[in-house]
């Protein structure tokens, strides 16, 4: 078990170094940068006008819809990934060689129908 995990050690080191770099830059900036504040500086930028209140209101649901559709499609693409990697070896296998292409065709057809559905349903229209 531990042997298998050892190959991920460099990744861990990388995370530490990268986050360290980022935090180091921020700390350096916090130390070196000036601190001069006044009330109008703290207002959110609204093109020089007095603020009309917080920005975090309920926003249009369509952006959320895009994220939902993405979730569905990304998962489906992830399903395609192992198939794609193993495709050539499966083609050569006597058992699955005949149906591996058919399978993918079916799967992609389902995907395409799904896409067509959200498309025609205007879930992807943001205007």
């Amino acid at each position: 078990m531990l042997e298998q995990l050892i190959e991920y050690v460099p990744l861990l080191v990388g995370v530490v170094v990268a986050v360290g770099t980022a935090l180091g830059m921020l700390v350096l900036n916090a130390v070196l940068g000036p601190k001069r504040t006044n009330p109008s500086k703290h207002e959110a930028f609204e093109c020089g006008n007095p603020s009309l209140g917080p920005a975090r209101n309920r926003f249009h649901v369509k952006y959320y819809l895009v994220a939902l559709v993405f979730l569905v499609f990304d998962v489906e693409v992830v399903f395609l990934l192992p198939w794609a990697v193993e495709y050539r070896r499966l083609l050569d296998s006597p058992l699955l060689g005949g149906i591996v292409l058919l399978e993918a065709l079916l799967f992609v057809a389902v995907l395409a129908v799904g896409l067509l559905y959200v498309w025609k349903r205007d879930a992807l229209r943001l205007d």
Binding site: V19, L26, L28, G33, A44, E46, A84, A104, V118, L126
Partner: protein, 346 residues
């Protein structure tokens, strides 16, 4: 174990600090100089050390120093914690993703020119790189500014839409070479077709390459897909309220992102470090191959900059439309075509 950690540490420090941050800084100079050449201007030429301007090469350094000495400012209504971590979250992932990129062939049986030779291969790259979207989205949301908020929503919608297209465009490559390990993909591309044509990804997957470039320009949020920070509409999009080093981190992450997709594209479609008809493990061959890899990355960066300074920006709904209604159908088509060709041409 300690040796492993130390080697990884040294590689990471070199890769992140020298190569990526230095590369991003130089890229900002390249961007300015290249746009200047395209637009009949002179470009940066003022920063000088002892009277030497070195074609304006000191500008990135001057910029960096300036950013360090600027006020690190947090708006009163911002969500302090998220506002603090959002730049880090957008800055770190593209750096990490680079760990899966091989800069050259294995030397003396070990992957010296690659930080992490894990079994995840390019899946790691894809997974880590897509975390970056959180950084930008949270930055926009936490600022409590309407322009930032719209920038954040645009970022998330746009990156989501092109993520699918990007992954689809890669599936064809994975099918042809039958692996997700970068070194193995480059190994597959090092072969020759009919004895003369390098079996590069761009040869076996031309449509895939085009789709990949389109999707990756969108993923790096560059024109014509620079909607999240469209300066004329949203002032500066998600980074409107950011100043000093935190702003610089968004800025750097954009350039590291360009380097990342270029390196990714070079590995997948341009044969990585492979130079056709050149093999062996002499030191000069390895050196040449590393050089070839960097040249390929440079070529793709050049292509992206050319696009950036040529075409105008799209409208947001057009971007989303393009992602879903062109990129993904064509990606599926490419996938099926590849499958059929591979099945017929066994």
């Amino acid at each position: 174990m300690l040796e492993l950690v130390l080697i990884a540490f040294a590689k990471c420090v070199f890769l992140f600090l020298a190569f990526l941050l230095g590369g991003a800084a130089i890229l900002s100079w390249v961007e300015r100089k290249m746009s200047a050449v395209i637009q009949d201007r002179i470009g940066p030429n003022r920063a000088a050390v002892f009277g030497f301007t070195a074609f304006g090469l000191f500008h990135p350094i001057a910029d960096g120093i300036k950013m360090l000495f600027k006020e690190d400012f947090v708006p009163a209504r911002a969500d302090k914690i998220l506002f603090f971590f959002a730049p880090v979250l957008s800055f770190v992932p593209p750096l990490l993703a680079f760990m899966a990129i091989p800069f050259g062939p294995p030397v003396a049986g070990r992957e010296w020119l690659m930080v992490s030779d894990s079994q995840m291969g390019l899946l790691f790259l894809l997974a880590v790189a897509s975390i970056g979207v959180y950084g930008h989205t949270l930055a926009g949301w936490s600022s409590d500014n309407k322009f930032s908020l719209m920038g954040a929503l645009r970022t998330s919608s746009q990156l989501f839409s092109y993520e699918v297209g990007l992954t689809l465009s890669l599936l064809g490559v994975f099918m042809v070479y039958g692996t997700i390990m970068p070194q193995a993909i480059i190994g597959g591309q090092s072969e020759l077709m009919w004895g003369w044509l390098p079996r590069w990804g761009i040869v076996t997957q031309p449509l895939g390459f085009i789709l990949f470039m389109l999707a990756s320009i969108a993923e790096t949020k560059r024109a014509p897909f620079d909607l999240p920070e469209a300066d004329s509409e949203l002032v500066a999009g998600y980074s409107t309220e950011y100043s000093s080093m935190r702003f610089a981190m968004f800025f750097l992450s954009e350039f590291v992102g360009i380097l990342l997709v270029s390196a990714f594209g070079a590995v997948l479609f341009l044969g990585g470090w492979n130079i056709p008809f050149l093999a062996g493990d002499a030191w000069w061959v390895v050196l040449l191959q590393v050089g070839a890899f960097l040249a390929k990355v440079g070529a793709l960066v050049y292509l992206q900059m050319l696009v950036r300074w040529t075409v105008p920006r799209m409208r947001f709904d057009q971007v989303i439309d393009f992602g879903w209604k062109y990129l993904i159908p064509f990606g599926l088509l490419n996938l099926l075509a590849t499958a059929v060709v591979l099945a017929v041409w066994r």
